[in-house]
Amino acid sequence: MGAILEAKGITKSFTGIRVLNNVDFELQRGEIHAIVGENGAGKSTLMKILMGEYRPDSGEILLDGKPEQIHSPAQALELGIAMVHQELNYMPYMSVADYMYLGREPRTWFFLKKNAKLELTRKQLENIRLEVDPNIKMGELSVSDIQMIEIAKVVSYGSKIVILDEPTSSLSETEVDRLFEILNLLKASGVSVIYISHRLEELNRIADKVTILRDGDMVLTEKLINLKREDIVNKMVGREIEEIFPEMNKAIDDVLLAVKGLTREGEFENISFDVRRGEIVGLAGLVGAGRTEIVTAIFGEKKLDAGEVFVKGKSVKIKNSRQAVRKKIAFVSEDRKLFGLNLIGSVKDNIALVILRQLSRYGLLDRGKINKRTGTMMEKLQIKARSVEQLVESLSGGNQQKVVLAKWLLTEPEIFIMDEPTRGIDVGAKSEVYKLMNSLAREGKAIILISSELPEVVRLCNRVIVLHEGKITGELERDEITQESIMLLASG
């Protein structure tokens, strides 16, 4: 039996820049095929071509051995190709059933058959073993459930090829397990899955083959059992990447930040811990454990019902971000597009934003100073952009995150809160962020790291505080930190 999908010699350029170069790709029936590559390698362009959003400059696509021209996403869907995007597009006020059958509601003449729709929806959900009431509004569901419903929807169209874009970036460990169960079910029923992810450690668990793209070239397609993780990373990056994680800083000094009894009703209770100079303290826990809420409160942008915060031994009342910055605290927040960046602003404007007053005289901007400081930051962090004037929305995820880091570095903080700083960025950029964190620790800064990527937490943190449903369930010292010990405490 031939491959269900074959792409041969796909080439695509945009305004003179070659984005895909003679790429070959083959997908077998019932195969879970991962595609990996750094940002800019061409993964999303290739997917857009498969989905009919772009037309290749040359090359052909064969479905079941037949050459096809895919003109539009609607046609791609008809041909059996569907995609579940990283940023889920759904309507929060629609019910599950409404959303599932949007555009193809069961009906007689003009009248909608509501019960028929509910029944059909229930069946689809059963197929993927998802227990959700079809009447619930989409907005009330967790990210993981919404994703499951997207997959069910896509399957209900009879799609034979399902493309998943970074499906696990917002999922907890248990939710990832659930996703993988569904994918295996799909696989068993003959559906093929294209799985795009930066999370290389997951690939072994779920994917049969992996294709590595680099700078528009197809570098390698191979069965996963034949590859080691370092091999994949090397091929992705094209150079020997030394240890992704730098050596941990051991020179730890006095306490910079201490919190006692932090409480906020419904979110967290009695949180006490401290962070020292040179230390990276991890806050671990399942999604919803309250970690982001706690650090947002420390930063002053959420009100505390009880508890005290001490900076360098002195009790402080931080009521808003300005006061936090004055106390030398920086907050690299969770979702850079939502809380970290002004996407329609330039690199320069974003980087300079917090310290604008220092870069001005009597309220008038000092252009020279601004250009100099932002230019220096761009170089120091190796932010890849045409110039400081480039709009941030057109940068890759990794470079966007670097802009956020640059912004905070300019405030010269002593306490860094980083919430999921490497989410959605590729291996190369991740490694640079780790190096930066390490050098900050060596300079005597204190870092609070929130991360759902356990390997990251294990390799970077001197200490880990684990939370479960708003309470601290344990604190792990250096030798005790393992993925298992964290998970144990995180599950309550």
């Binding site: 930063f299 971000s321 300005r322 907050f331 939502l338 002004n342 602003g345 309220g363």
Partner: protein, 325 residues
């Protein structure tokens, strides 16, 4: 390093960014061809006179829109502050000019300030807050003026807008235009060269990110509504002086016209985007169009129809050029 494609790209970008300018130029050319009176000096001065107040209000609206808000109450603020100025500017009282002028500006600023408080601490969505005031403030103006225009203003009051500052040939350029020029200069500096300007763009571009970046978002918003109210107050004085009476029924469409001028000038209703020069072009396009249609003797009803269409067309091209980036 600009490659050849890079060079071509930045030229097309420049043309697209200046799309509004081309619309304006083409509009002027068409009208000039149809009626040579259009480019006569007297008419040019008339056009600028007609858009002076629109220009000032459009600049104020631009500031509010850039910050992500909207202010529908400016017309009513013009009316109320105009009435206040008239009440203090009558011949009998013989007040030094500074009194009615400052009164109008203070009244305008105060209303703007309340708008700001409502939008920030009151958490009332700007559309509704300023809509409510649009209605009530005009009512208050009608109350103060007892529903009748206030006449008998002093001569020096009349001179505020109408004094001929200098002559270009046979044509007198009234002081009104210089207020516009003054506002343009001051506001341009404020928007482009100050920290406050950068904060405006940041708040409009992404309010949450601005809040987390140590910007006092509430203060920025209150300031921008107060500023807009202040400019509207100034317009109140200018309007009263221009029509030589304190009339609470004027300026009914001013808020929408000001917003239309801004939007034609490329200001995004979602916030974070806009410049003063393009807004001025927007105001000029509206002014030139009104003026052109008047000269050509087109019925005022048809004028209004065409006005609305031009707004849609101008924004259509602007949206397209932005989508293509």
């Amino acid at each position: 390093m600009l490659s050849e494609t890079g060079m071509k790209k930045s030229i097309t970008e420049f043309v697209k960014a200046a799309a509004i300018l081309w619309v304006f130029i083409i509009l002027c050319v068409i009208i000039a061809v149809l009626s040579p009176n259009f480019i006569k000096l007297l008419n040019v001065v008339t056009v600028f006179k007609q858009i002076s107040m629109l220009g000032i209000l459009a600049i104020g609206s631009t500031f509010v829109l850039i910050s992500g808000g909207i202010d529908l109450s400016v017309g009513s603020i013009v009316s109320l502050s105009g009435v206040c100025a008239a009440l203090l500017g009558v011949k009998e009282l013989d007040m030094p000019l500074i009194v009615p002028i400052m009164a109008a500006i203070l009244v305008g600023s105060a209303i703007g300030f309340i708008n700001g408080i409502g939008v920030t601490f009151g958490k009332i969505t700007p559309f509704i807050m300023t809509l409510g005031f649009m209605i009530s403030v005009r009512g208050f103006a009608l109350l103060l003026s007892k529903g009748r225009p206030i006449f008998g203003l002093s001569d020096k009051f009349m001179n505020i807008s109408n004094a001929p500052v200098f002559k270009l040939g046979a044509v007198a350029v009234p002081s009104l235009i210089f207020y516009l020029i003054g506002v343009i200069i001051i506001m341009s500096v404020l928007l482009k060269l100050t920290v406050f300007g950068k904060w405006l763009y940041a708040v409009g571009g992404n309010e949450d990110a601005a809040r987390f970046s140590a910007i006092n978002v509430n203060w920025v918003k209150i300031a921008v509504y107060t500023l807009n109210g202040c400019l509207a107050g100034l317009c109140g004085v200018l309007m009263t002086s221009r029509i030589n009476s304190g009339d609470a029924t004027v300026a009914e469409n001013f808020a929408l016209d000001a917003i239309a001028a801004s939007v034609i000038g490329g200001v995004s209703l979602a916030g974070g985007v806009g410049t003063i020069w393009k807004t001025l072009l927007g105001a000029l396009i509206i002014g030139v169009m009104q003026n052109g249609l008047q000269i050509l003797g087109v019925s005022p009803f048809i004028q209004t129809i065409i006005q609305g269409l031009i707004i849609i067309i101008a924004v259509f091209f602007d949206m397209r050029s932005r989508a293509n980036k």
